[in-house]
Symmetry: none
């Protein structure tokens, strides 16, 4: 079944509000096996809204509208939907009582214009709104269906979960299942090239790739008669994908790399510490962003100056002078210092040039990641060098952070 | 001039990505005096995209498209725009060299399908993309204009700021000037109430308020015949605003609070250090995100465990036991430890519960920010307590970070 989403509201066209409702509803619809055709946004303008509804019904069997159900003059979604579908509005006593008691319960006086909210298109199924005053509804006529929901995301979600999901079940025949796989260390086009043998001529499951900064995500989705069939098709496809690009995959369940690292540290009863120069706390911050990180991460050092590297981590000033502060030697000594001070199983460090101004003769995007492990991991230590060739400070810092996570991930997996 | 925005990408219809590009572009277009008519989202489907472009041009003079400019098979925006406007594509040598050098500079092999990105519609003005590989462009024909931009928000914004704004100026008769004022410590509705006398009946300059998490932003914009008139109108309005809410304003130039703090530290030749528990490096990270932070910030400590607080910062374990680890006493001792170890002029610390699970009898969102100053600032020390009453870990961590910045800001301004 083809569904389109129309958001009504001039604030969206002004760029004041992001249309997160369309994202939420699309996600829900896809999970239920509906095919989302278009998102449209239109202002509070009756002529344009009516024309848009009529033209959208040409290709779509259903339209879900959000916004414009409030009590004010420019809230006109309900009236226009009724007009476009050729039905009248009637005054619904129960809706009126609900709107009124919403105000009574809060010891507030109901404004006269709230009466407007109790008018409902003839033949509509009302979704009684416990999260606000706008009654929502679904209406079917001549093989087309319109669902009207309020704009505030909290109200809209409440109605979707509590009323719309049940209402939609009557329209759905197929079941949808999908998994999101996350990779690192391979670009989007290389990934696609490697997957070409299974992407080409593939109808179901579908495989979609998305590039994120420094990472790449794959979505494998199947729509079948039963959920069991859909799951089986996705799982089989994931096994094929695994054969081709398995070594780049760090999550089969749409997890962030930091989440995976924290989970694996916990599973392996390993502790972690960090010593950061150019990332300045970003690594520690992304690890501690994961609930439960306190079980595996206790110490982080941000040693931005040479004095801090020497004073806090005990890096020999002579080596800083001889090898330069951005060097593999200093990176390793920083990691060793953090490891010693925290007595952690793994210590990870970084020193580098994020930009905008590298030292003379050096390039932005050049960094050294050091690591040093405790007894449990054989006291091994080492480094990797990075050259992003970019001047973009934010981009570099984020990339450096991801590579630090990758080094920790590889140490846990005994791949370093 | 009427403009519509079309975002191309099945991931948007799957609900995997939020269409923040449309919001950003709408905001920019409104500032420049363009009238945004519609936002549309369509999947990677050539037939639908072509029909949508043609029907959108009925009411709109210009379409800005985002997405579908990549190297893969389903990237088809450029081809369809050329088709809809009735022009051919040609192979652009300069674009090809730029795409190729993008890979060469990173010591990466260019995949064969990246060649596709160098084809450009005949008659288009190319926007040379320094933020990625997708060449963007604007094309005018028969009184209609199409602008094609890549989908990744970072690339899109770079191109918009560096190329599209200039390109758009030829379509605009009026001159636009605006300033963005940033405030902290006051909610959006309180801010609006205080500004009511000047917001009411105000046509130009316009004043728009936007709430961000923990902060509030004001945009003052004027559109006049000349730039001088527009600037004068905005500056006069800012003086009025200053009289009403001056004490909440920390930037008149849309700076981040961290930028202002780093700038003021530099101006006052003051150094800063940090000791973080629940924010886990976020504070250090946002300070070091500002270019030039190395002049004022040398030491950051992430002491997530009690052992780290005692071992690294010298917080007396007995006091942790007596007062609890989340207490004003521990916050102040953490700041004193960081100040001593780094010999900085200002040390700031935090200990608290971000969520999801506070210790028994304590609430998520409760935190203590401590500070300790060196000789230059009279060795003063102290703390503030925060209670957000929220369980949201991400929200709390961000709010805590902003409050730490505010405390440092107030210390520099001698307001603490």
């Amino acid at each position: 079944m083809n569904v389109s989403i129309i958001a009504v509201g001039t604030e969206l066209l002004f760029g004041q509000t992001v249309n997160t409702n369309a994202t939420y509803i699309s996600n829900q619809l896809n999970l239920m096996g509906f095919n989302v055709m278009y998102h449209h946004v239109v202002g509070d303008n009756s002529g344009r809204l009516k024309a848009l509804i009529i033209s959208t019904f040409v290709e779509s069997d259903m339209i879900i509208l959000t916004g414009g159900l409030g009590p004010t003059q420019d809230d006109l979604t309900k009236e226009i939907v009724a007009e476009a579908m050729g039905v009248d509005l009637y005054f619904d006593e129960r809706c009126y009582r609900e709107v009124k008691s919403y105000f009574d319960d809060r010891n507030r006086i109901m404004a006269e214009n709230n009466r407007k909210q109790a008018y409902i298109p003839v033949g509509a199924e009302v979704f009684h709104n416990e999260a606000g005053t706008a009654p929502a509804f679904g209406i079917e006529k001549d093989g087309k269906c319109a669902i009207c929901l309020p704009g505030p995301p909290r109200e809209m979600k409440w109605l979707f979960e509590n009323c719309v999901v049940d209402y939609l079940k009557r329209f759905s025949s197929k079941q949808m299942y999908y998994r999101v796989i996350r990779t690192i260390g391979i670009g989007e086009s290389d990934l696609e090239t490697k997957l070409l043998p299974i992407i080409d001529n593939q109808k179901d499951p579908t495989i979609a790739t998305y590039a994120k900064e420094g990472e790449c995500t794959l979505r494998v989705a199947s729509q079948r008669e039963t959920m069991t069939e859909a799951q089986l098709a996705v799982e089989n496809m994931i096994r094929e994908i695994d054969k081709l690009i398995g070594k780049y995959i760090y999550s089969y369940n749409d997890e962030e790399l930091a989440e995976v690292v924290v989970r694996k540290l916990r599973e392996n009863k390993l502790s972690l510490s960090s010593a950061e120069s150019c990332t300045g706390g970003m690594f520690a911050s992304c690890i501690t962003d994961v609930p439960g990180a306190s079980n595996v991460f206790s110490h982080g050092f941000v040693t931005y100056s040479e004095t801090a590297k020497a004073g806090v981590l005990g890096v020999d000033s002579k080596i800083i002078e001889e090898c330069s502060v951005v060097s593999s030697e200093v990176a390793v000594l920083m990691a060793k210092g953090a490891q010693k001070s925290s007595n952690s199983d793994i210590a990870i460090s970084i020193t580098g040039y994020a930009g905008p101004e590298a030292d003379e003769g050096r390039e932005n995007g050049n960094a050294f990641i050091g690591y040093a492990c405790g007894n449990k991991l054989g006291n091994k230590s080492g480094f990797i060098e990075i050259n992003t060739k970019r001047n973009d400070r934010k981009w570099n810092r984020n990339f450096f952070k991801l590579r630090m996570l990758l080094v920790v991930y590889n140490i846990i997996n005994d791949a370093i």
